[in-house]
């Protein structure tokens, strides 16, 4: 295993220490239980926004803590959802008296650990609302299964909902907007290579030189199907088609197009993919009015990318444009 780390057990903590040192102006890091929190938390009179999940997806979520986005983020072990103690402590740390929204990606572990934390927080008299993201069209949805995974939309949702809370929206309003974003966004991802969980020491799956995985999540899990490697144009179609089928976008609709790198894919390739996605949407008469290109929700060093489309209206557009000041996303400030 080739990684710039010390002991696999210490990766998450040492990386958090680096974040604390590099971004002391924006965030503080609390240890045991671990969470990254805005330096000015709790912001009185503002709905608190927290998220969390396994580590290995950086910059998500810790990189999104700051003014206009998250109040706190709870990093679990690599690819392992955090424990309730973290979310409870973070919820208390960001509660400004107007309640706290938990942004949870739809994974059994995340759901259950946040659930327990919410129960405990409620017991301590903190009003908690929950939004679950489940935008991954690679997974067939059904009442009887774990349902779709939460992936790329989570990043966009954290930005938009963070802006709403910063703007003074109350908990119910923040939750409404959060659910709207989740309802209007869809994602699909692919991998050219696997990734290696530090404590596992070897790649989660083996992928021959001439094959790729289509329909992966963000935990190094294999995808829905394995196919021969193909051109950027073909890959773009494999990712965009299922999203478009699911979203029923009309010609003339406006979208935010998010081309995300999985961690080991260089920018030059992400822009090639963005170019392909733009061509596809242009063909459908869909307007890209906002975009995001970069590695924001990753699977360690996995090579690959994901597409996320979010249908925009004036409300979501202006919330997206609102200032944000975090280690990983920053504009207007």
């Amino acid at each position: 295993m080739k990684k710039l780390i010390n002991n696999p057990e210490d990766v998450v903590k040492e990386s958090l220490q680096g974040v604390a040192l590099a971004h002391a102006d924006l965030v503080k890091v609390h240890y045991d239980p671990d969470f990254v929190v805005r330096t000015d938390a709790p912001v009185q009179g503002k709905v608190g926004i927290i998220s969390g999940g396994g580590s290995g997806h950086e910059p998500m979520h810790g990189g999104f803590v700051g003014k206009g986005m998250l109040d706190a983020a709870c990093p679990g072990a690599v690819f392992t959802s955090p424990v309730p103690d973290q979310m409870l402590a973070a919820t208390k740390a960001v509660d400004g008296g107007k309640g706290v929204l938990h942004i949870v990606k739809n994974y059994t572990g995340d759901i259950m650990n946040f659930e327990i934390a919410a129960e405990l927080a409620a017991a301590e008299g903190i009003e908690v609302a929950v939004v679950v993201t489940n935008d991954d069209v690679a997974v067939k949805d059904s009442l009887y299964t774990a349902g779709r995974r939460g992936v790329g939309v989570t990043v966009l949702l954290e930005k938009i909902v963070g802006a709403a809370a910063e703007g003074g929206a109350d908990l119910a309003e923040v939750k409404r907007i959060a659910e709207k974003v989740n309802a209007q966004g869809r994602s699909m991802g692919m991998a050219l290579t696997s990734c290696t969980v530090p404590h596992a020491g070897k790649p989660t799956f083996e992928l021959p030189d001439d094959e790729m995985e289509i329909g992966i999540g963000i935990h190094g899990e294999p995808g829905r199907r394995r196919v021969k490697i193909a051109s950027a144009a073909e890959v773009a179609t494999m990712l965009a088609d299922p999203i478009l089928e699911d979203m029923h976008l009309q010609s003339g609709d406006n979208v935010l197009a998010f081309v995300n790198g999985m961690g080991g894919t260089p920018q030059i390739e992400l822009y090639v993919m963005y170019n392909e996605l733009a061509k596809i949407l242009q063909g459908k008469g869909v307007n890209i009015t906002r975009n995001l290109v970069g590695s924001y929700i990753t699977s360690l060093e996995m090579a690959g990318c994901s597409f996320t489309l979010l249908k925009l209206d004036d409300e979501l557009t202006s919330l997206w444009d609102a200032p944000v000041l975090t280690p990983a996303l920053r504009w207007g400030a």
Binding site: A77, F79, E115, A200, G217
Partner: protein, 211 residues
Amino acid sequence: MQITAQHVITFLETVAARIKERRDELTQLDSAIGDADHGVNLDRGFTTVLAKLPTVADKDIGAILKTVGTTLVSTVGGASGPLYGTAFLRAGMAVADRFELGPDDVAAALEAALEGIQARGKSTRGEKTMIDAIGPGVDALKAALAAGDDFVIALRKSVAACEAGMQATIPMLATKGRASYLGERSIGHQDPGATSAHLMATVMLEVVEKA
């Protein structure tokens, strides 16, 4: 025969040791249909449990099991943390204040644990999870005791049923947990949680056999 708090401590110490031994094997199983952390998750949790045991050595069995449950919830994370955590919590509640347990008490505690997992996981049998190993194990234990089997015999039958249930997860299509994301591709792999559940069952049998 009676199970004492000391037996429970021995059970927990042995489970912790066994998980450390089989940590990589469990993680490997999770690589195939999950995210390669099950062994690491449980090892992290039971290592902490081991460290906490001295503080509860003189407590009743219910208190010991509840401490294990909260410790697992607070240290494991993932799906198995809340699930095994809830399991030990419910088992502990089922035998609150007791310093000795008879076979039926053990069965009741295990049944409470099973119900706790199903409630927390919103899952039933046949979804390719730990429940597919625990469920049959609990059924077999109850049936054997009802039929008048001696505790050790009954536990042997229980572990056998648990093992069969674990193996039965191989051909199953997962509908819960990460493995469900693989759809058809989840078929043909043994569920990691069912495997760790069977590990605990075998340790329980060993401890009782030595008792």
